[in-house]
Symmetry: C2
Subunit: 135 residues, 2 copies
DNA sequence: CTTGACCCTCCAGTGACTGGAAGCATTACC
DNA sequence: GGTAATGCTTCCAGTCACTGGAGGGTCAAG
């Protein structure tokens, strides 16, 4: 298989696949003409990585997970721990975004959004986010 | 004020403040010794940027917001629209993360996490995320 | 007078790609 | 058989928003 076929079948752009080879996630062979020659196994790995990436795992986690994928004697506990850590990070990010969202939504709701210059959003930013002190 | 004072009062690291000057967000003067000389106005701007960044606005949005901050004749509608766009982006990200989280939580729950190698997490990744077909 | 804290600039690296240029290889079509 | 369009190759640079570090000047205290 050439890179184009693998790209189509794995859903990853050729550029990304080359990048994954660069950083050592896969090692396709080479044809006589210098083209990368992918085997089914490479395709499986790429699909694996693609899936892991859509679940938000970092490349380094993907590397570890790939090793575990190939390791017949892996302990599922190791895999589970990586996933749990990642889950915790996701929860943190969600919490952060929700907090941002809440503040921002309040400000947006308070802004009349017309042609006049006064604007609670700008005022909040200008106060550095400290609560308003109308005294 | 030297950069250290401004860093402390704005909560931004000196490196970041220098970077903000580099990209033209602020323009502090210079003392005879070559040190940056910040005025109160610079500090206000930095606090403004810092706040906007914690709310997740990009640097380019900060630039625009700063312009609006300084513009006595701004229309609050313009500000509101930027904030609304940003809000929509945040909502998108939250949705994405929640979807990741849901899938990942299922997999984690299904993994017994002991010394045996069989693991629903690895299996999902290996299938590229396609639903299991036990037939 | 030296020590240490502070400041300066410039370069390089982060993560995970992505875009583009320059140049072979192959394939499709007439 | 020629030629034009793909497709493949490598390498360099850019993205975003910083961050780390080297190498060196400046300033206040003891």
């Amino acid at each position: 298989m050439n890179i184009g076929d693998v790209a189509e079948r794995s859903g990853l752009p050729p550029k990304t696949i080359r990048y994954y080879e660069d950083i050592g996630l896969i090692r396709p062979g080479r044809s006589a003409n210098g083209y990368r020659a992918f085997r089914e196994n490479d395709l499986h790995k790429l699909a694996f990585i693609g899936r892991a990436r859509t679940l938000g795992f970092t490349i380094e986690e993907c590397r570890t997970l790939l090793d575990l994928y190939e390791d017949e004697n892996r302990e599922s506990a190791v895999v589970k721990r990586i996933a749990e850590d990642h889950l915790a990070r996701i929860d943190e990010k969600i919490a952060q975004l929700k907090s941002m969202r809440a503040t921002l939504a309040e400000l947006v709701a308070a802004c009349h959004g017309d042609s006049r210059p006064d604007c609670p959003i700008i005022e909040d930013l200008g106060r550095g986010g400290r609560p308003d002190d109308p005294a």
